[in-house]
Every structure is written in structure tokens, then in C-alpha cells.
Amino acid sequence: MSDLKARIQGIRDAFNQALDQVEGLKALEELRNQYLGRKRGIVKDLLADLRTVSKELRPELGQAVNRLKNTVENALTEKLEALKSGESTGDLQRKMDLTLPGVAPELGSLHPLKVVNRDLIRIFERMGYEVASASEIETDFYNFEALGLTKNHPARDMQDTFYVTDEVVLRTHTSNVQIHLMQESKPPFKAIMPGRVYRKDADITHSPMFHQVEGLVVGEQITFADLKGTLEHFLKQLFGSDTKMRLRPSYFPFTEPSAEVDVSCIMCGGKGCRVCKNSGWLEILGAGMVDPVVFKNVGYDPEVVSGFAFGLGVERVAMLKYGISDIRMFFEDDLRFLSQFT
């Protein structure tokens, strides 16, 4: 039996030697016949001899013969192509230089904002939130009025708005989705609203178009403590379990009480650095309890239901996460930018 094994090795060596010396298509064809000929090929003979081997050993040796056959076939094919294209195969078939560069298909990449957006959505989907959407070209009512931003409200100045007509705007936040959602459904619910928003502002940190993810939870027993717990969980999922959260009372026309939410700086961990301007904190989202005015505007009774809402900028998160300092990069779509986020 070991005879056969030794024979296989011997045949392999002899073949390789013979193959090295082949210098023409004709010689190659002869070599092929010699080894793989249907009637009298060396490999064919080997297969015939297999029959003499005991049943127990036959599978193992059979496989060895098949491997030899494949090796011979591949080597012959490679040599054939090499001869055709006039190249020398050198020692390619026996000693491959795997320090040569790998050849992989060129993969594309997801846009960094989409990656972050998807991460945000997934965190909330795992917490049982649905994803809601609505128009970007929106009426004044859904973008402003229903949120308590009446025509002369000073907070309208906080958002420089693109107008289509006096009554139609490019939405300045995804809060319009909150109004549609509340009008169309009954509490309790938990939802997030990702999407494009627009403000008339353009510089290194402001883009006339950017992305927000807002969240809205409404029910009969929803409290500020629930808002805190939710955001804490979310921020730890997003930035890591060591992340600390800080709330600062603030003012938004559509929530009360309102808060600006900071996370411990993801660069320095809160010790203070250039990114957090030595404060140790990074402002990351705005949040609060839904203002009773908003509930009244959608026909809910603020004495019965309560809820919280929050919102954050996707660009802001992506800029922090990837260390991008110019927001315009996201929309120039330079290939050298995009391909970094494979």
C-alpha cells in the first residue's frame, strides 16, 4: 500500500520535472497524453491499480490519486496559457510567492452618515421603537405652528428657514413627523424619525442640508425619569458603556421641561481636550417632555398623556466618531473621503 503512496509522489515529482522541460505546445500535448491519456495515461493506470488495494485503504488512496489528477490538470492548463502568452511560468506552479499583492474585488462603501444613521436606528429598534417618516417639503403648520412655534415666536429666529411659499417650507427638523404620527395614531407608542432637514446656513460646521434623528415616546405614565433612562441607555450603546451623561436645563418651544444633553468627551473621556474645549463634555442632543401645547394641537389631553421627545444631528455624531472637522465633506462626496468608511 505504501508502495502506491510512494508511486504517487514519484509520479508527481517526475511530472513536475518533465513539465519544467516542456518548451512548446506539442511537447505539452504529449505530456498531457502521457499522464492523462484516456487509454494509457499514467494516472489512468494508477486508478486501475487502485482496484488491487484493500477496501479499507481504497478511499484514502483514491483521494490521493484524484488530488494528483487535479494538480496535473491545473499545472498543464497553467503551462498551456503561459506558453500561449509567451510567458515563462518560472516556479509559479511549485513555489508560489505569496508576498505578491492580493487581488480582491474592489468593494464599495456606505456613506458615513448612513452608517451612523443605521447604528442609531438599530439601537432604538432594539428598544422597540418604530421608524416613522413624512414629507420634507412641509406646511408651516406641521413644521412650526403645531409645535408651538407661532408666527411671531422669537424661536423662529433660531432656525433660518428655506421657504417655498409663505405657507410651505423645507422642514427645519424632523419634528413634523412627530405631529403626523400623533395625528395618525393613538398612544402609547415609541418612534424615531430619521431624515433630511434644511436650514439656511452654510459654513464649516453648518450645512444647508443635514440629517436628524428624533424620537418620541407618548403614553400615560411617561416621565422625565424615563427620558433620562432612555437617553443614558442610548448614549452608552452609541459611545460605549463608560460614557457619562449630563443634562442641562434648556429651552425649546415644543418641550418642557427641556434639556441639552452632554456626553463625557469621547476623545479624552472627560479630562478635557481640544475637541471638548477643555470642558470634558460634548453637547450631543436636545430633549424634553412634550409641551402640553403640542398635545393640545394634535388633540391629545395633556392631563392624561405625557411623553418625551429628543433629537440629535447625525452629522454631529459622525464628525465626532470619525474625527471629521468640516461638515461640507459629507456632501462633496470626494471618493477619497467616501472610500475611507468601507
Binding site: E106, L110, M158, F189, A225, R246, D334
Partner: protein, 683 residues
């Protein structure tokens, strides 16, 4: 807003250092953005939100610190002057002609003032807070503004023609020169303080040059008024003048403090500029402010905040902030709002005050106890994820381009467009209309990349396009891809990555399988001017054109300044979103051996492959599992007008091994039928 810590300490006795003060204020919603130190001068840059004009002064900040238990307030000295001489009304008359814009007007008259520099301690404090000292009277009005939060203005009484002060709307086309030397053209919505003839101040915003305090001024009128916020805000915005005074009036000054502020200023003027205060100040206050009363119900704090609080604690906080408890009954409390807190009108506002002073960061953190199951998200997001995964695997990079572009960019793809959604106040022509196709914005990005030498380009985007519909827009969910045609990469072993029409179609087919389930796209004649008609096809679903695939037209390339050949794809997904297949379905496969047969045919070049494919697939041949085109050739050896195609057939039974004769027979039958159908010749 800059505040000097030394100045703040005049009103609060506290153990906290500047950092401590900053931390407490930040926690209470008065965020200290920056602590600036210059020698022993420490300045806090505080971001006071628009709803808190009460905290835009030193006394307000001191009240915040004291209420949260971080110090004891030091009261502002009571005025000690004695009024003498003729009554105010003998020297000046006040007439409020626009009571809808001016809720209160106090005038305090002071005679025989000596103008000079203000005392050094006052100048020093003003300078710390970055306010330029001018003269004793002017500095005192500024000082009181920062101390109490109430804006004041001082007039030289000589300049008041007719000894009159008239609060009225400006007359159309009236002009005045404000203190900054600029001539302002007024409109009838602007409120002015006028004398008998002409405006002498832009109410609540800035004084007039004609009535300013001069070195030789002897008699001054101190104005302490209350103007309606909207009016001041509109004028201030229209004229782009922003002052410490307008900042407060716009947000709501304290109407109740007007007389007190005037008296405080008068007292300081007597101390530091001499003079005699005329008795009986004028106070036009036709409708004194009625303090709202707000009921805070027993369970409300717990319901909104998720935290029980002792009534004593709540009382201490609200009283510290100036609220007056009128009643207490079984946990319910009734509160009267102080005049400096006009932002507080509802129970929720009181709850916010309590929460703020308790400290957000001390509050508990829980998760919402919603018991009902969550609703399911429509399959749109997951469909888009699948498209992205196919295209990225195919080497395409995802782009996000602006939703707006120039009208010409839209027209390049759709010259027939009648209407677009136009932005009435765009940043520029290039962003003045909403895109009607994604290629309109994606091609711009391609042009930019090519200009920068990024030639191996394959980009895609999924997003909305916007077509006018009623007053708003029809926002269509769309995917688009574009690539520079040709070999994009060649590896050292000769392996190549090519972008062309069929590469793009192949990826489209993969997307189709993943998201559209049983629906499949058909290919029709391309009628889009954006594409080269001979090198493109319309994409059809259910007999409707839903997109295009192929080479972009020369007109488009010229418009975007591109000198490469681009292959592109745009597909409107809107009507199929609901068909997005959330998961694949398992199909059993055969364990029996498969047999293949190849055939090559020569046939007319005009016969479209879709006809051939559908013919073969519909032949209803038993055991035929698959038909695949594996070669197509025209040129040398093939007669003109003909094409050679080679097709691979796979035969396989689900339950038996087929024998050769059986397969040969089936194969030959198919070949014969094919030859018959297409007039083909077997090669």
C-alpha cells in the same frame, strides 16, 4: 453674555469660587460656555436662553444661586435721595399714543446734574464686563441695566422740543440718526420716542443722536419703560440693530420693576453726578400687570418628573424665585407669578422650575413602562439596506448629495419639465430648486471627482426626488448609480474590474431579486434625453417606465463638463416600497446529478435576447433547470447582420438520474424548436 464674577459678588454672599459658580449655574440651565481669566478678573460667558430675560442681570444670577442653596443674596441699596423742586410734570409731559406697543412709561426728571466720569469702581466693573464707560449718567443707566435687568435711557431735557415725550409709531419715511451715527429710515410699525417734533429715540433699541447726554447737559430725563417684545424684535431685526436694551425687551423685560429701576438710577445719579430729583415721577401705566395664578396639583410633579417631592422643598424653591404661595390644600398649591417671570404661565412651567432647581442630574433614570408591543416599521429601511449591500459589494460607494440643485441641472435630464419646487430664498442659484432626479445632483458630484482626478468612480445614492404636487411636493423614493465606463482597476496578474452597462444591469438584477420579490423589470426603448438612445433602456415595471439604465447622453455630459463616458441608472422605487420583501424564501433543490448541454446558433442580430430567453424558458421542457447565455460574438467569421450566441442548458430531475439518451432527445427537440422559431443555424 459676559458677566464679571466680582460684580456678581456684590449681590451674593457665597463660598463658591468662579468654577463652582459656573458649575451650579450650568446645572440650573444657565450654561457657562467659558470662564475667562485675565489677572484677577474672572468673566463668565453665560448662554442665557431666550425664555429667561430675568437671568440676564446680576441680581437674577444671584437669585438663582441663593435659591439652590448656594449663598445668601445681598439686597440692592434702597434709594436715599429726597425729591425737591418743581414736580416732574412741570418740566416734561409724557404722552403714550401707542399703548398697544408701550405698556408702561416712567419718566424721572433730575435737575442740575454735573456730567463727568463715573466713579472708578463703577468704571472698573463695567470694563470687566466689556462695557465702555462714557459718562456718569450714561454709565449709571448701563450699570442699572446689568444690575436689575431693566433697560433705561437718559435724555438731555434741552433737546426735547416742547418739553414733550411722545411714544408713537413712526410716520412713513420718517428718518432719525441713532446714537451710533447712522441714519435710520423708519416705517409705521416702528415705535419711536419723539418730542414735540421729531423722534429722539428708537424705542427700546437705541437713543437718538439729537437727544444724547453731552458734557454740558444739566437736566436729564431718565426713561424706564416697558415695550411689547414683538414690536421691538421686528424693528431690531429689520434695521439689524442689536443692543443690550433690545435684547431684553425682545424677550420680555420686567414691567413691574420700571419705577424701581428709575429710582435706583436717580439715586446713583444724585450720588455720583449731583443734581436734584424732581418729585412725582411720571408713570403712565394704564393697565397694571395682573400676576397670573397657577395651580400646581398634588400628583403633577410625580406624573411628569417621575419623582415625589416634599411640599416644603417645592415651596422653598418657588418662593426663592419670587413666586408667592397663595393657597395650599391637600397637596395642591396655588402660586402667584412675579412680574419678572412672564415666561411662567402654566403648571408645566412651575414643574420645570422645580425640576431645574432640584437638578436634572440628581433625578432618577428609568425606562418607559409601555406595556403594549411596539409597532412594526415598514420594510422601506431594510429594502434600502439591501440595495446598499448589493451596490457596495459591486464596488459602488454611497454618496449623499444635496436635495437641491440649479434648474439647469434638472433640465439636463428632463428638458420637458414644466414645474419644479422652487425655494423662494435660496442660498444661491445652484441650490434654488429641489432635484427632480437623483442623477441631477449625483452627476455634479461625479464631475467634481473627475476634476480632482478620482477616475475610478462608481457612486450610488438612495433618496428622494421632488416633483411639485399641489402646494407641496410628490417626494419619490429613488435609487441612482453612476460609473465611469471602462477598466477601473487592473491587478498585477491581469485581473480587471470593469464598469459598463451590463455590470450596472447585473447589479440592478441583484437588487431586484432582493427587494422586489416576484416583480421583474422589463427593458423598453429609452425616451429620456438624459441617456444616449442607442446605449440605454427604459426600466419598466407593470408596463410603466420607472427608470432608465445606460450611457448618459452627450448633452448631459456637456452640461456637467464631463469628458468621460458615464453609465448610469435611476429607478423610482416609490410604488414598489410596499412590495419590498423582508426575507428570502427557501426553495428546495435537487440532489440528483445534473447534466449540461451547450449549443451555438447563428441568427439575425436584430433579435433581442429577451425574446430568445423567454422563448426558451417558456418551452416547458421537462427537467430543464436553467438556460444561460455564455457567449455572444459578432465580427470576423460571422456574416454581417448575424450574431453567434452560445447557450448552456442544465437538465436535472428532482428524483432520478437522467440517462444520456433522454437528455439528448430533449436537447435536440429544443434546438429544433429554436431553429424553427428564429430561423437560426446551428453552428
Amino acid at each position: 453674555m459676559d458677566f464679571s464674577v466680582r460684580w456678581l459678588r456684590k449681590y451674593i454672599e457665597t463660598k463658591l469660587d468662579a468654577d463652582g459658580i459656573a458649575e451650579v449655574l450650568t446645572d440650573q440651565g444657565l450654561t457657562v460656555d467659558e470662564i475667562r481669566r485675565d489677572g484677577d478678573v474672572v468673566v463668565l460667558d453665560i448662554d442665557v436662553t431666550t425664555n429667561r430675560p430675568d437671568a440676564m442681570n446680576y441680581l437674577g444670577l444671584a437669585r438663582e444661586l441663593a435659591t439652590s442653596g448656594n449663598g445668601t443674596m445681598i439686597p440692592v441699596p434702597q434709594p436715599s435721595f429726597t425729591a425737591t423742586g418743581p414736580v416732574t410734570g412741570d418740566s416734561v409731559a409724557v404722552e403714550v399714543q401707542a399703548p398697544d406697543l408701550c405698556g408702561r412709561y416712567v419718566a424721572r426728571y433730575i435737575r442740575n446734574v454735573k456730567i463727568g466720569p463715573s466713579p472708578e469702581w463703577m468704571q472698573a466693573l463695567l470694563l470687566e464686563a466689556d462695557i465702555r464707560p462714557i459718562s456718569n449718567v450714561v454709565d449709571i443707566t448701563n450699570y442699572v441695566l446689568w444690575e436689575l435687568g431693566h433697560p433705561l435711557h437718559a435724555f438731555d431735557s434741552r433737546s426735547l422740543n416742547g418739553n414733550r415725550i411722545v411714544i408713537r409709531r413712526a410716520v412713513s419715511d420718517e428718518t432719525m440718526v441713532t446714537l451710533d451715527g447712522t441714519e435710520r429710515k423708519l416705517i409705521t410699525n416702528d415705535l419711536v420716542i419723539a418730542d414735540g417734533d421729531r423722534p429722539v429715540a428708537l424705542a427700546g433699541i437705541m437713543g437718538g443722536e439729537n437727544s444724547e447726554i453731552r458734557e454740558d447737559t444739566t437736566d436729564v430725563v431718565i426713561e424706564s419703560a416697558w415695550f411689547y417684545p414683538v414690536c421691538i424684535r421686528k424693528t431690531s431685526r429689520r434695521l439689524a440693530i442689536h443692543t443690550d436694551s433690545s435684547h431684553r425687551f425682545e424677550r420680555g423685560a420686567d414691567i413691574g420693576i420700571a419705577l424701581k429701576a428709575a429710582n435706583r438710577a436717580a439715586d446713583l445719579i444724585v450720588q455720583y453726578a449731583g443734581g436734584e430729583v424732581a418729585p412725582e415721577p411720571i408713570d403712565v401705566y394704564p393697565e397694571p400687570w395682573k400676576a397670573p395664578e397657577i395651580l400646581m396639583k398634588a400628583g403633577s410633579l410625580k406624573r411628569i418628573l417621575g419623582l415625589e417631592m416634599e411640599i416644603d422643598f417645592v415651596t422653598k424653591i418657588l418662593e426663592g424665585l419670587g413666586f408667592v404661595k397663595l393657597k395650599e390644600n391637600d397637596g395642591d398649591t396655588l402660586w402667584q407669578v412675579p412680574s419678572n417671570r412672564m415666561d411662567v404661565t402654566r403648571e408645566i412651567d412651575l414643574i420645570e422650575e422645580v425640576a431645574r432647581m432640584y437638578g436634572y442630574n440628581r433625578m432618577p433614570a428609568t425606562l418607559p413602562g409601555i406595556k403594549s408591543p411596539g409597532r412594526v416599521t415598514p420594510p422601506v429601511e431594510s429594502g434600502l439596506d439591501k440595495i446598499a449591500s448589493v451596490l457596495t459589494a459591486g464596488g459602488f460607494h454611497e454618496a449623499i448629495t444635496y436635495s437641491f440643485c440649479s434648474p439647469a441641472d434638472n433640465l439636463a435630464f428632463r428638458p420637458d419639465l414644466q414645474e419644479m419646487v422652487r425655494i423662494s430664498n435660496p442660498l444661491g442659484e445652484n441650490t434654488s430648486v429641489m432635484r427632480t432626479s437623483i442623477l441631477a445632483t449625483l452627476t455634479s458630484v461625479v464631475a467634481l471627482n473627475l476634476k480632482r482626478g478620482n477616475l475610478a468612480l462608481k457612486l450610488f445614492e438612495t433618496g428622494r426626488t421632488y416633483l411639485p404636487k399641489g402646494k407641496q411636493a410628490d417626494e419619490r423614493l429613488t435609487m441612482a448609480a453612476v460609473a465611469v465606463k471602462g477598466v477601473q482597476h487592473r491587478a498585477w496578474n491581469g485581473q480587471e474590474i470593469v464598469a459598463d452597462e451590463f455590470n450596472m444591469k447585473g447589479l440592478l438584477n441583484r437588487c431586484e431579486q432582493k427587494i422586489l420579490g416576484k416583480l421583474s423589470i422589463a427593458y423598453g426603448e429609452c425616451d429620456s434625453p438624459g441617456f444616449n438612445p442607442d446605449m440605454s433602456a427604459a426600466l419598466m415595471l407593470n408596463n410603466h417606465t420607472v427608470g432608465y439604465l445606460g450611457q448618459l447622453s452627450d448633452e448631459v455630459l456637456t452640461h456637467f463638463g464631463i469628458d468621460h463616458t458615464l453609465v448610469a441608472l435611476e429607478l423610482d422605487l416609490t410604488d414598489f416600497v410596499q412590495e419590498f420583501r423582508p426575507t428570502a424564501r427557501f426553495r428546495p433543490f435537487s440532489m440528483m446529478p445534473r447534466t449540461e448541454r451547450d449549443s451555438a446558433f447563428l441568427l439575425d442580430r436584430d433579435i433581442r435576447y429577451s425574446e430568445i430567453e423567454s422563448f426558451l424558458k417558456n418551452l416547458d421542457v421537462p427537467y430543464l433547470k436553467n438556460v444561460r447565455l455564455f457567449d455572444r460574438y459578432e465580427g470576423k467569421g460571422v456574416p454581417t447582420g448575424k450574431v453567434s450566441i452560445a447557450v448552456n442548458f442544465v437538465f436535472q430531475s428532482d428524483d432520478q438520474t437522467l440517462n444520456n439518451d433522454e437528455i439528448n432527445e430533449l436537447h435536440q427537440k429544443m434546438v429544433a424548436a429554436f431553429i424553427d422559431k428564429f430561423g437560426a443555424v446551428l453552428r
